[in-house]
Amino acid sequence: MASSLNTDGLTQRPIPVRAGVGLKAQHYGEILETSPDLGWFEVHTENYMGAGGPPHQYLETIAARYPLSFHGVGLSLGSADGLDPAHLKRKKELVDKYRPALVSEHLSWSSFGGNYLNDLLPLPYTQETLEVIADHLRQTQDTLGRQILIENPSTYLQYEDSVIPETDFLIMLAELSECGVLLDVNNIYVSAWNHRFDPRTYMNELKDAPVHEMHLAGHHFNTEIIQDFPQSRGLRIDDHGSPVMKDVWALYEEAIALFGPTPTLIEWDTNIPGLSVLMGEGQKAEAVMSKIGGKRHAAA
């Protein structure tokens, strides 16, 4: 039983170059009973910000068996009015306790003026934003005593004031703060559709970025917007609620060809299916890595 946060017994296990899946409460029991052949698990750090109880008891057991990645959804690196010190402190306690091999956050904001809006909101790409988020990244990395990865967002809008291309912004951020990049292939596809850019060009622009993890997920096509704006091509919405789409798998093959085999997470956060479905998606990702990755190394 977890009586308090401590580091007893939990050592850091590196993330293997394999597929991992998002850890969901629905699957705790099955994971403990069957010890499925999965490379690693990723958790939403905020789901473990309670003091104790079943979430920690399960996570402790799983952390002893599998490598972990901690993916934050609530720190709000892009907030103009600063990071919540209590949130950052709690995050540090969790990182110190569970020793995850990867820690990641988003290129977005979610909090302002003491309120958390529970959505990954887009940022204007300006010099001011770059300085704000680079400062917050450094503050987070200094507090945690480790590098974190930053994820490219799915976006549905662009600001009038945005002047820096998103890929340049990510590269500059990685240079300024020495953070890594979490490449979400589904997000590239969604944003490329929504803003009419070529997802392959976007990926190529990032080819020298320090990509240490990839994400794959499902998304949906918003049917109301296309009815209201029939002359447009509509919006794709990232919802992590369905299998990875065929076009996204194709883009993932190109991502693996470009960056080499990379730990890849299957994200599925709404309409969560049985664990076997997630594992099936993970096997597809591993098949891509052995097919494309193998070729790449053979050719090199």
């Binding site: 905020e46 910000m49 008891q57 009015d81 209590a86 958390y116 809006l117 529970n118 919006l235």
Partner: protein, 258 residues
């Protein structure tokens, strides 16, 4: 526009139903208008926070039905957006909000049901502590026993209501939908919520036992707590009540204060 002004305006627009000035000032339009693009985020905020409230308040959802729940959740979210970056802590003011929510006045028990569900949520996430067993009392002399202080587990919450929320709780925990409308007798409820191990326990108490625990929780001695219970029922059976509560694993520690 400064980032601070942009985020302030965006937040205000997200939490309103139709405040669209921000969208036209800051967001690039095109084939799809700036307002429609903003609406995607407005929907995200309301839908995901409504789901979070449904997960914390499943009994309220069941009692009022999906449509009413979503309407009251949207109203709650706009008036009480989260103040912390984790949803574990979101929705604690739902009970107080329901007290003053005009469309819910027909269902006066809802607010107390919400307080009960919030107590369950807090117990689930509270700090872990191992319960003590009754054997610990043999560590004390008979003279010390009347002056002992009992500390409840960190998960323990005491909820009372002038409505029969215990009956409503049982009803909402049943897996089947009832065939007919349910008649519930009026009556008050006294409830203890705590988590001795992994599972949250919801225990319905008689008023003397409830007030006995309230007194212990207010740091009264065993004698003081007994007096609080005996005031309600002179026949209050201290020994069997204490023994039941101890074997149920309610107490984290007991200490003697000279």
């Amino acid at each position: 526009m400064q980032l601070r002004d942009l985020q302030s305006g965006f937040k205000q627009a997200l939490l309103s139903k139709d405040h669209n000035d921000f969208a036209s000032q800051a967001i690039a339009g095109g084939e799809i208008t700036a307002t429609a693009r903003l609406q995607v985020h407005r929907n995200n905020v309301i839908i995901t926070l409504t789901e979070a409230l449904k997960a914390t308040y499943p009994a309220i959802d069941r009692l009022v039905g999906c449509e009413f729940f979503e309407a009251l959740a949207a109203e709650f979210i706009r008036n009480h957006p989260p103040t912390r970056g984790t949803l574990i802590a979101y929705g604690g003011e739902f009970g107080a909000f329901l007290d003053g929510f005009e469309p819910a006045q027909q269902l006066p028990y809802l607010a107390d049901m919400a307080r009960l569900e919030w107590a369950w949520n807090e117990a689930f996430h509270s700090a872990d502590a191992a319960p003590i067993s009754g054997a610990i009392l043999s560590d004390f002399t008979p003279e010390q026993i009347p002056n002992l202080h009992f500390n409840l587990l960190p998960s323990a919450r005491l909820i009372s209501s002038s409505y029969p929320i215990d009956k409503l709780w049982e009803l909402t925990q049943a897996t089947d939908e009832p065939d007919d409308a349910i008649e519930i007798e009026p009556g008050e409820a006294h409830i203890l919520v705590y988590r001795p191990e992994m599972d949250v326990t919801v225990l319905f108490l008689k008023p003397p036992a409830f007030h006995f625990l309230v007194a212990l929780n207010e740091n009264k001695t065993l004698t003081g707590a007994y007096e609080a219970a005996a005031e309600i029922d002179p026949q209050f059976d201290l020994q069997s009540t204490l023994s039941d509560l101890m074997s149920g694993g309610l107490f984290a520690s007991v200490r003697s204060v000279e």
